[in-house]
């Protein structure tokens, strides 16, 4: 099973540095919208998520221009010539892990040639490489269901 980048919700503090480093390394700009990893907040949990290299990736199957192909190692390859940035893949990705570049092509995590920059820089060591089966060990469901506040 392919390993992908995920954040340990017990550790991630939501600082967003992973998004900044990713967009800079890949696109030369500090810009969360150009990041291949996305930090979100669910309830009280911070989660950073990237492409999970699914076994039957809906983005590849459903891309209307056939711009996406999956390599043997699971990584999704984007053919910039074919991709017109329609955003269909963004909608079908169950993990919200795809962004569209302003120059209109999909941007998807490729593990930086097996040297993921976000993992190197994460200040809390929250980012780890896991597969689908190991994932739930790192999700704190209790935090996700909570919110700030409450009644006195």
């Amino acid at each position: 099973m392919a390993k992908f980048i995920f954040s340990d919700t017990m550790k991630c503090n939501g600082c967003g540095i992973c998004e900044l480093i990713c967009s800079w390394y890949k696109e030369g700009s500090f810009d969360p919208l150009l990041s291949r990893i996305k930090k979100t907040r669910l309830g009280l949990a911070n989660i950073a998520t990237a492409c999970r290299f699914c076994e039957e990736p809906p983005c590849v199957v459903q891309c209307p221009t056939k711009a996406l192909t999956q390599k043997d190692n699971g990584i999704i390859d984007v053919n910039k010539e074919k991709c017109d940035g329609c955003g269909w893949c963004v909608d079908v990705c169950p993990y919200g892990a795809i962004n569209i570049h302003p120059d209109r092509f999909a941007i998807i995590c490729d593990l930086c040639d097996n040297d993921p920059q976000c993992v190197n820089v994460c200040p809390t060591d929250a980012l780890i490489l896991v597969d689908q089966d190991e994932l739930s060990n790192y999700i704190n469901y209790d935090l996700i269901e909570r919110d700030l506040g409450g009644d006195v």
Partner: protein, 521 residues
């Protein structure tokens, strides 16, 4: 440096315009200057003419650790002088990616509204449904209705809507001081949401990453493993209403810090903060940060039940009141009660339930304590027990440390944020650096960061300092400030400085050092 773009919004007329300002300054300085040029002595803080000014940090949106905070400035309803606060996290990041460096709001809207700034477009949206909701609920509803969980939001609670003078503006678990929430409320402005989609391309990103690593390591070494609340046991905290703590009070306090550990849920951070500075606590279905403010409510009022302190802080957050101010106002009420003054509350030292009721009642009509400690003490002829600087209720910091107390006295806003080095912290606040980390930054770092961002090697922090350091003071002088305003309550002076003469001579030396004379020439 890049050009600074001002967005001015008049909520009375609905008019909005933008203006390109002087390019040689940071937004914080230009924001306070805008206030100085537009808000004179005759302008009442809660009147339409007062401005609420929000400024961006030159370091926002970049991997520059524990920085990027926005500055919020206005004429304070508590002091009548400059009101200032700095909030960190998402709002500053999004603002740096929007088209605006300064957002200024004037006028009063006819109906409650919130502002939505989307890169360059600005909408004024009706907020009737948000009326009476807590700041965090307001944020949640706005994010849902904009269908965008990534927007940065500033919001006020019911206290701000009612212009309770110690109301706060809330964002990312932090709150403002200086009654800035009351100014926002007086404009019928419930919230500001901002979305910015611009990328930031500094001249030398590699160098910024190097500086990021070195600064982060230093900050992590000092703060990484520390629990800020737990750490308070190492300090000499005050007792009832800033009196020297008795042995009993010290015991109570230590037990409070001990107990509160049990309710800890998790540490929290903000955008651009590799190190966490907030901690969430939980009790009886309530989840809330506990800050120095909650602890102040405890020590100043003899409440040593962790359960009550968490609930008290949560109430302050929900209503949108400054817990540091609440702690002081409450202890004035307690001391008045002790003096048998006719106050309409069942409060008493160490009375848990009554203290929570006291907090809830702050939003009731005609509550004298809603006007702040200085006003309430005046009404009862009790100036001697009103613990404030320029009308801003004192933080317990001002008891723990002589330098912080002194800096609080001479701070133009009456609130102090930063290290022992006043001049340094003053400018670092304007640059949007988190007060707790000022000691880790240096002018050399600032120079390196600036030149890496702009490529301008002529940048001179010395030049910036001269202007930035006096602009808030110039604003105050225009409002009628005099030296007597740079003062502390005698309880603090006696405890920390021995007598008033010692304090005055230190103040004289300080003015000399800052090159501040009476006329501020």
């Amino acid at each position: 440096m890049k050009n600074i773009i001002l967005l001015m919004i008049d909520l009375g007329s609905g008019e909005k315009y933008t203006e390109r300002l002087d390019e040689d300054y940071i937004a914080g300085y230009l924001g306070v200057k805008l206030l100085k040029d537009n808000v004179g002595k005759d302008v009442e803080p809660l009147s339409p003419e007062n401005l609420l000014v929000i400024t961006t940090s030159p370091f926002a949106g970049l991997p520059i650790p524990c920085s990027g905070g926005i500055g919020i400035y206005s004429k304070s309803p508590l002091s009548g002088y400059i009101g200032e606060s700095y909030l960190f996290g998402t709002f500053g990041d999004r603002m740096a990616r929007s088209n605006y460096d300064i957002i200024a709001v004037k006028g009063v809207s006819e109906k409650p509204v919130y502002l939505y700034i989307d890169d360059s477009s600005v909408s004024i949206i009706r907020a009737d449904k948000l009326r009476g909701s807590s700041p965090w609920m307001t944020e949640k509803i706005i994010k849902e209705s904009l269908n965008d969980p990534s927007v940065g939001v500033l919001s006020i609670g019911p206290a701000g809507e009612k212009s309770v003078k110690s109301s706060t503006i809330y964002s990312d678990l932090q709150y403002t001081r200086s009654g800035l929430g009351a100014v926002m409320g007086s404009k019928k402005l419930k919230a500001i949401a901002i979305r910015g989609s611009g990328g930031l391309k500094p001249k030398n990103p590699g160098k910024i990453m190097d500086l990021y690593k070195s600064l982060t390591n230093k900050i992590a070494e000092a703060y990484g493993g520390i629990d800020l609340i737990n750490n308070l046991v190492n300090y000499n905290l005050p007792g009832h209403n800033f009196k020297k703590a008795s042995v009993e009070e010290k015991k109570g306090f230590t037990s409070l810090i001990d107990q509160i550990q049990k309710y800890k849920l998790k540490k929290e951070s903000f955008q651009q903060f590799p190190i966490s500075f907030s901690t969430l606590y939980q009790v009886d279905g309530i989840t809330t940060p506990v800050t120095l403010g909650g602890i102040a409510i405890g020590v100043l009022n003899g409440i040593y039940n962790a359960d009550t302190i968490i609930k008290a802080e949560h109430l302050c957050y929900s209503l949108g009141i400054d817990p540091l101010s609440m702690a002081v106002v409450m202890s004035l009420a307690n001391e008045l009660k002790e003096r048998k003054e006719p106050i309409s509350s069942d409060i008493g030292w160490g009375k848990d339930k009554e203290s929570l009721d006291f907090i809830k009642s702050i939003v009731n009509d005609d509550n004298i304590f809603a006007n702040g400690v200085r006003y309430a003490a005046d009404k009862f002829n009790a100036k001697d027990i009103a613990m404030h600087s320029k009308g801003i209720e004192l933080s317990i910091d001002a008891f723990i440390d002589k330098d912080l107390a002194f800096n609080t006295a001479v701070s133009p806003s009456g609130a102090y944020f930063g290290s022992k080095d006043f001049a340094k912290s003053h400018i670092y606040n304007f640059l949007g650096i988190y007060p707790a980390v000022h000691d880790f930054y240096s002018d050399e770092y600032i120079y390196q960061l600036y030149t890496s961002i702009t490529g301008d090697r002529d940048f001179d922090i010395g030049l910036l300092k001269t202007d930035v350091i006096s602009i808030e003071r110039e604003f105050n002088i225009q409002q009628g400030w005099n030296e007597e305003d740079d003062m502390l309550p005698s309880r603090i002076i006696d405890e920390l400085f021995g007598d008033k003469d010692n304090f005055l001579s230190r103040r004289q030396d300080f003015y000399y050092f800052m090159k501040w004379n009476k006329d501020n020439e």
